[in-house]
């Protein structure tokens, strides 16, 4: 499959996923949110439950809510769901389903001079998302509680650009009363959103690379997920096309004679490398082949 055809199919899946996850059209029209029982279920991607169209809950927001409440010290339900999602597909959720990923991909299509971050800067910056996950999503909601035993959802409150874009802006546009409440915090969140959106124009998947706590968590499952991308090094010509087209700038192992698993925690399984490889050396496979693990 050529890259254009692959991108078109992926875009259709991304748009369809965003539409299904945010299918409550009446919410957009009336400036209200969905209140059905489906919101007890966490969707596998970063999709704000304050979005007027959202039919399910954001797992990152839900985790902070449970940890930041007075009843639980561990979020079995949300973590369990994320483990099952992660084991099933790894970061394929980021590449094919996440609406905020779609927005970044669309912004990445704007003609602009892309910034290539030097590896010595890029590599440490990528650990930032793990710090966001550990500190803002887990530790602060768990430890920084008020006198009633309740903590803020730190990531949602101070960082999450998806919440501002999918929830804040549509609700504010529809509700004058909410608009009147917007203050310094909203301005801060708008600033973060603008930085992230500009970042996505200049650096592909800027938010996914450096900040997304959900991507950080799913990345840990890439090696063990049912869905795998493998490189047959005996077919690989070492042309480097795979690395050049990768939006996450993943270093893919080069020519040799082995079959290797592409298990980088950064790989969002978008499949562009597979579509672009002129030798057809990258394939989707399960974990059956013993040869994969001999290197």
């Amino acid at each position: 499959m050529n890259v254009r055809k692959h991108n078109r199919i992926r875009r259709i899946i991304q748009i369809a996923s965003a539409a299904v996850l945010n299918g409550y059209a009446a919410g957009f029209a009336g400036g209200r949110i969905f209140t059905g029982a489906g919101k007890a279920f966490c969707v596998p991607v970063l999709n704000c439950y304050a979005c007027p169209g959202a039919l399910g809950s954001c797992p990152i927001g839900s985790m902070q809510t449970v940890l930041g409440g007075s009843r639980h010290r561990f979020s079995f339900y949300v973590l369990g769901l994320l483990m099952v999602f992660g084991i099933a597909l790894g970061r394929l959720w980021c590449g094919f389903v996440c609406p905020f990923g779609l927005i970044q991909d669309l912004l990445g299509m704007i003609p602009a001079r892309r910034i290539k971050i030097a590896p010595k800067v890029d590599k440490p910056l990528r650990y930032l998302k793990y710090a966001v996950l550990l500190i803002l999503v887990v530790l602060l909601p768990l430890l920084a509680k008020n006198q009633y035993g309740i903590a803020d959802a730190w990531f949602c409150k101070y960082i999450c650009p998806a919440g501002t874009l999918e929830g804040g802006i549509p609700l504010m546009l529809a509700d004058r009363q909410l608009r009147s409440l917007a203050g310094a915090l909203f301005s801060w969140k708008m600033l973060i959103l603008i930085v992230v959106l500009i970042g996505a124009v200049l650096i592909p998947r800027f938010f996914c690379r450096y900040l997304c706590p959900l991507g950080a968590l799913y990345g840990l499952f890439n090696r063990y997920s049912f869905y795998q991308l493998n490189l047959d090094q005996s077919c690989c010509t070492g042309c480097n096309t795979c690395t050049q087209v990768c939006p996450m700038a993943v270093e893919i192992p080069k020519a040799g004679d082995k079959l290797v698993q592409i298990s980088s925690t950064e790989c969002i399984r978008c499949g562009r490398c597979k579509a672009a490889c002129p030798a057809g050396a990258i394939r989707v496979k399960g974990l059956r082949n013993e040869a994969l693990y001999r290197n």
Binding site: I33, Y49, T65, Y77, L81, G167, F186, L287, Y293
Partner: protein, 48 residues
Amino acid sequence: MSAAQVKWIRAALLCVGVVFIVIGLATGEAGIVLDKAIHICLECIGIG
């Protein structure tokens, strides 16, 4: 890491995930998630 090891880890993680979901449902976590999600999350939208 051998293929067998990866398979075992994968199976173990999947089982732990399912067990966590069951424990979470039994302890009412889904209700907390629902309660949060059906009210406009003010901190998410930059107000609260």
